[in-house]
């Protein structure tokens, strides 16, 4: 990408585009000047996808609350999908697996410990027997954890229903929810929401809950109710969290609805409402989404059926 604030590359410009650039020179110059203060589109989309770490995510969120250009871009891009991999990219992405598979077969030396020398064989039998005995013993002591051997990124989420702070990823959702409504009201709402979530970002959940509660009286939107419910969870007010998260889940759409369902199941479990938690988790486990694997793992941990 070329430095922003410049016109488009001259070699890339078509004849009719040249005329367009000349005719709309002034408004386009204003647009470029404005965009020079915006995050790059890739950074914006990363923030919307929830993969931008703090404090960059907070900086982009604040900008998004004030910038209609970025809100429009984020909203419109949400309806598109990037192009898929080319044939060569597919082959290259698969190559490491092929290499690893070939390494396992082409270098039997790697499996040399399997060579059947009597002592090794006896040791192997002993190890297997002890492991089996331990496995059976553990099975009797505790409910099975089918996903205990999953890789690192998931295993952090597996044991039960951990309470993890969700990132502030509401600007895109807010832009979508408030699309078409009066601009002034939307701007004020976004400003109030940013103010209410400032203490949330620094883990001051009590102050964040107080501000969100006040905002919920005038704007009981899905985002406000969701973050209010999460704050109450962190404050140990589990029954209150259940109420807010139920309302948030009803009001929310898309990814936020799934986030609300996940935290609602956490709230149910912490409030001792096991059956309701299981019902929520079963719904999440059935549908594809960011919480599916966690929900299925949580059901296993609770000893409840997945369906």
């Amino acid at each position: 990408m070329k430095p922003r604030g410049e016109a488009t590359r001259s070699s890339d410009v078509e004849p009719d585009e040249q005329a367009f650039l000349e005719e709309l020179h002034d408004p386009l110059a204003v647009l470029r000047a404005h965009a020079s203060r915006c995050p790059e589109p890739d950074v914006l989309m990363a923030a919307c996808a929830g993969v931008l770490p703090e404090p960059a995510a907070a900086a982009v969120a604040s900008h998004l609350a004030e910038c209609p250009l970025c809100r429009t871009l984020a909203r419109d891009m949400a309806g598109t999908s990037p192009s898929g991999p080319t044939r060569k990219e597919r082959e290259r992405m698969r190559a490491p697996v092929s290499r690893e598979a070939a390494g396992a077969t082409a270098h039997p030396g790697r499996a040399r410990w399997l060579m059947f020398r009597p002592a090794v064989a006896v040791l192997a039998v002993l190890v297997v027997a002890v492991a089996a005995a331990l496995w059976v013993y553990r099975d009797r002591q505790a409910p099975p954890q089918q996903t205990a051997s999953a890789p690192q990124p998931l295993s952090r989420d597996i044991p039960g229903l951990p309470l993890e702070k969700p990132p502030v990823s509401l600007p895109l959702a807010t832009a979508l929810v408030w699309r078409g409504e009066a601009g002034v009201d939307r701007e004020r709402y976004l400003a109030d929401l940013g103010h209410a979530l400032a203490p949330y970002r620094t883990d001051d959940f009590a102050e964040a809950a107080r501000r969100l509660e006040a905002l919920a009286r005038t704007h009981p939107t899905a985002e406000v109710l969701f973050y209010l419910g999460v704050c109450r969870l962190f404050l140990g007010m589990n029954e209150g969290a259940v109420g807010e998260l139920q309302r948030a889940r009803r009001a929310a759409a898309g990814p936020l609805a799934q986030d609300a369902a996940w935290y609602l199941s956490v709230a149910y479990a912490r409030a001792g409402q096991r059956e309701s938690a299981v019902a929520e988790l079963q719904n999440l486990c059935r549908q594809e989404g960011p919480h599916q694997a966690k929900a299925c793992g949580a059901l296993d941990s609770l000893g409840a059926p997945r369906r």
Binding site: D12, A46, P53, L69, P96
Partner: protein, 178 residues
């Protein structure tokens, strides 16, 4: 199965390898598009998306026995998402972003910066092309990769959008002159 010698052992491990690859191959073909697209949306650069997608599938191959197929593609997307977060952490976006800000930022109070593209005949895809091209200075190939079109399709959408905007601009100027 008893394995009595080196030759048989090689054959055995080769069989296991082939068996695992055939199962993996099917999963790879089924999910690689979705994982790549998701990752590309998260990081914006094809070579990075390629690297992360490749790592996610390598993880899957290594844990093939422990991952239930019903957990896919969510399992792969979770791995890719963690890798994308790591990528952005390494980029130190915060510092870069702040460096681009002017000393005295002007807070935009209205919708006028998008007003240029306010035209009912413009669809979201046209607006995306216009903003990426004329606000952020991307070329057609860069735009195409981010929104799943070919460079020619981007070209035709931009041509259509420019025609509409020029008409709108002229009408506006005529009304102003009267």
């Amino acid at each position: 199965m008893w394995i009595s010698g080196k030759t048989e052992l090689s054959a055995f491990t080769a069989d296991v390898g082939v068996y695992m690859m055939s199962g993996f191959e099917r999963l790879y073909r089924k999910h690689v598009d979705a994982v790549f697209r998701y990752t590309l949306r998260c990081v914006g650069r094809r070579e990075i998306a390629e690297e992360i997608t490749s790592e996610a599938f390598l993880e899957l191959y290594r844990h093939l026995d422990n991952v239930d197929e019903s957990q896919l593609p969510a399992w792969l997307l979770t791995v890719a998402k963690h890798r994308a977060v790591d990528y952005w952490r390494r980029q130190q976006v915060e510092r870069r972003y702040r460096e681009t800000l002017p000393a005295d930022p002007v807070v935009c109070q209205s919708n006028d910066k998008v007003g240029l593209f306010d035209n009912e005949s413009l669809k979201p895809i046209h607006r995306v092309c216009l903003i990426l091209r004329y606000a952020h200075g991307m070329d057609r190939t860069e735009i195409a990769q981010r929104i799943g079109l070919t460079a020619d399709q981007v070209k035709s959408r931009l041509q259509y959008a420019r025609r509409l905007l020029r008409e709108q601009f002229r009408n506006h100027a005529r009304r102003g002159a009267k």
